[in-house]
């Protein structure tokens, strides 16, 4: 126990990230079930308005700040040193600091539930003036601000660590163009964090100054400006969307190649597209503000459309990787296919709402809720499950059951689409987000009932996954060091890997050294 709490080993830290973020996912998932229960029918009185406001605020906050984004950082902690053939991260103690800042920051946010007035209830965006002290007086909002400042600083430290590690600690032979795609995507993610999170910490500081030191940054009666909050928040908030998706583009790329038994198609394009997406995402923040009447809509619309191009490149590279392959439908691959199908829908609706004339109707409606859940739930969450099934044997030395895994995938895929597809139509029919009830008009009762049934199915899927973990860990069937025929260096060491990772490294002549090791004849042919 003490060994874990004081560890600076990147693998232990990575595992603790995965466990902590999974805990926060559990909380956020339970809150999601409360939301769907309240909205199951138009006349529900299961949650009052005040409880409902806290529930959706903490649901969004926990999913975004405490699960989807930091899970990627945790996975990176475990994998990056292994993938590039390093013994640990560049700054192990900084790494441990970041982990504990994250955990305590997350717990600080949740502790708001016990404050008088309850947890924060101004939404995950906490727009001023709504989050100002004269309106949201409770300590829950302060704990939210302080807790998320801690997790933000944690992310900045981890991002710094990842960039330095990948640039300076690669094994001999691991040139820049041989770095595994997941590690590359994490470099792009980390650069985004380094650019986007300092403004977030700034806006939190300004909000605290407003709340407790008589600042008037966002109060128009004293020369402040509510739109300023949105600019600063979305200057962070849109890059954050890519912080929540780029790591999973990496996961998908690695898994699709291994289970197509082919090299990654368009490796260089995939790397460049990650940086193109990262760069463009710094210039699109005001597409969250099309309806404010305070920004140049057409500029931000054009910039947002452009992101479709590098994202499309990724899809074609995944398709190219599968093309003429020898595709194996393992559980990780199924989740990756689910990711592609769901994320495609989220991407397409993303291009739609990037057009202001559409956004004027869709903004802040359930159409938007559907859109971003297709990206973060159908996309990132499915990739997270793919990553868990794929790397579980490496992390714990135990393979999860393929039989239960396939059921889990099927139920989650059906449940996800049943929950979120109807939401597009709720939005079009005029249901705004963040409401605790709705009138029984048009198709709203039917659509909401379907969504609630779907959410129930998703809960079954998640429980089935937990069952899989328990059953597989108790069975402890030995799986060997490389159960999937992996490509990258993490599969060249034991499962779980020893302290400092490697006793010896295979020669590195391409971006998939372990494949080359097992297929020397093919490697000689493919690699010039």
């Amino acid at each position: 126990m003490i060994a874990w709490l004081t560890s600076t080993d990147h693998k232990k830290i990575g595992i603790m990230y995965i466990v902590a973020t999974s805990f926060f996912f559990g909380i956020a998932g339970i809150l999601a079930m409360l939301i769907r229960t309240q909205l199951a029918t138009p006349d529900m009185t299961f949650l009052g308005p005040h409880a409902f406001d806290q529930v959706f605020t903490i649901h969004g906050t926990a999913m975004i700040f405490l699960f989807v984004a930091p899970f990627g950082l945790g996975l990176a902690n475990f994998l990056i040193p292994l993938q590039i053939g390093a013994p640990d991260m560049a700054f192990p103690r900084l790494n441990a600091t970041a982990l504990w800042l994250f955990i305590f920051g997350g717990l600080t946010v949740l502790s708001g539930a016990f404050a008088s007035g309850g947890a924060a209830s101004s939404g995950w965006t906490a727009f001023a003036p709504l989050s100002e002290i004269r309106i949201s007086a409770g300590a829950g909002q302060d704990l939210w601000i302080v807790g998320l400042t801690m997790t933000s600083i944690s992310s900045i430290l981890t991002a710094l660590n990842i960039v330095v590690t990948v640039f300076l600690l690669r094994a001999p032979g691991m040139t820049m163009w041989r770095i595994p795609i997941f590690s590359w995507e994490m470099v792009a993610t980390s650069l985004l964090i380094l650019m986007a999170f300092p403004p977030l910490v700034t806006v939190f500081a300004m909000l605290l100054i407003d709340r407790h030191l008589g600042g008037q940054f966002f109060d128009p009666a004293h020369g402040g400006n509510p739109v300023l909050y949105q600019h600063l928040f979305w200057f962070f908030g849109h890059p954050e969307v890519y912080v929540m998706i780029l790591p999973y583009f990496g996961v998908v790329t690695e898994i699709v190649a291994v289970f197509s038994r082919k090299p990654v198609f368009g490796y260089v394009e995939l790397v460049l597209s990650a940086f193109a997406i990262a760069g463009l995402s710094m210039g699109v923040w005001a597409h969250h503000m099309f309806t404010t009447g305070a920004v140049t809509n057409l500029f931000f619309s054009a910039m947002s459309f452009l992101i479709a191009i590098p994202t499309g490149v990724k899809f074609f590279n995944w398709i190219g990787t599968m093309w003429k392959g020898s595709i194996e439908f393992s559980t990780p691959m199924l989740f990756v296919i689910g990711f592609m199908l769901n994320f495609l829908i989220g991407g397409i609706t993303g291009v739609m709402v990037a057009s202001p004339p559409i956004d004027f109707h869709a903004e802040d409606s359930y159409f938007l809720v559907a859109h971003f859940h297709y990206v973060l739930g159908g996309g990132s969450l499915f990739a997270i499950f793919a990553a868990l099934y794929f790397w579980f044997p490496k992390i714990f030395g135990v393979k999860l059951s393929e039989r239960i895994g396939k059921w889990t995938f099927g139920i989650l895929f059906a449940g996800f689409n049943l929950t979120f597809f109807p939401m597009h139509f709720m939005g079009i029919e005029g249901m705004p987000r963040r409401v605790y009830t709705y009138p029984a008009i048009e198709h709203l009762p039917l659509l909401n009932a379907l969504a609630t049934i779907g959410a129930g199915l998703m809960a079954v899927g998640v429980l089935l996954f937990l069952l899989d973990v328990v059953v597989s860990v108790r069975k402890r069937e030995p799986v060997g060091d490389d159960p999937w025929g992996g490509y990258t260096l993490e599969w060249a060491t034991s499962s779980p890997p020893p302290e400092f990772n490697f006793t010896s490294l295979p020669p590195i002549h391409s971006e998939r050294p372990v494949f080359d090791l097992h297929h020397p004849a093919v490697a000689a042919e493919v690699t010039p």
Binding site: K324, E429, G430
Partner: protein, 216 residues
């Protein structure tokens, strides 16, 4: 269903954008789903032989970079045209309403007729608009951010303290439509609704005359 029967001139323009994007979305989705599912059907693993280990295809790359570029360029053209048309304000509108959002209802002021209507969460106010005439709305808030949304007009705009937004509404159908706050604004956000009553021009003039007298 607001998309099928939009109820204002501006909404008809906005629906044009929805039609173009929905059309493009369906075509792109079908092509991409097919391209994703095709390899899964054709090339399942059969045995241990490795498939061909190719890594790139330069000429194909031009296709999948330039095609999306062309597509978004076309979509941007339509966005540009529709947005310009909807954002345009006429210099002298037929009617003017000053809309003020507050926690948690709306105030509608008809400045020329000295009419002031204030709602409550329990008694949502009614916004009266003349059929086929341009009404200019001046929108602001006195506290937190709100958003003025009429689903059948396919349109919303934020109400933000310290600034005023202006837009034109030209209803094309008689009847009563739902209006609501779309920007989360706290406890009674859900109840912050209003009604839009579109009446004929003659009725509108009569209403202005009588309501103007009864309001202090």
């Amino acid at each position: 269903m607001p998309l099928f029967d939009p109820a204002s001139v501006q909404a008809q323009t906005l629906r044009g954008d929805w039609e173009i994007f929905f059309g493009a979305a369906v075509v792109v989705a079908i092509i991409m789903f097919a391209l994703i599912l095709l390899p899964l059907l054709l090339w399942r693993r059969r045995g241990d032989a490795l498939p061909p280990q190719f890594k790139k295809n330069r000429s194909f790359a031009y296709v999948y970079i330039l095609t999306p570029f062309a597509l978004v360029a076309v979509l941007f053209y339509f966005t540009f045209v529709k947005e310009r048309s909807v954002d345009a304000l006429v210099p002298s509108p037929y009617a003017t309403v000053d809309v003020t959002a507050f926690r948690w209802s709306w105030q509608f002021v008809y400045p020329h007729a000295r009419i002031r209507i204030v709602g409550t969460p329990q008694q949502p106010p009614v916004l009266v608009l003349p059929l086929g005439k341009i009404t200019q709305v001046n929108l602001t808030s006195v506290d937190v951010n709100h958003a003025f949304w009429i689903p059948y007009f396919l349109f919303k705009r934020d109400a933000i303290a310290g600034m005023t937004n202006h837009f034109d509404l030209t209803p094309t159908r008689l009847g009563t439509f739902r209006g609501l706050c779309a920007e989360y604004c706290g406890l009674d956000h859900t109840l912050m609704t209003f009604q839009v009553k579109v009446i004929s021009d003659a009725d509108y003039r009569r209403w202005l005359a009588t309501a103007g007298k009864s309001t202090p």
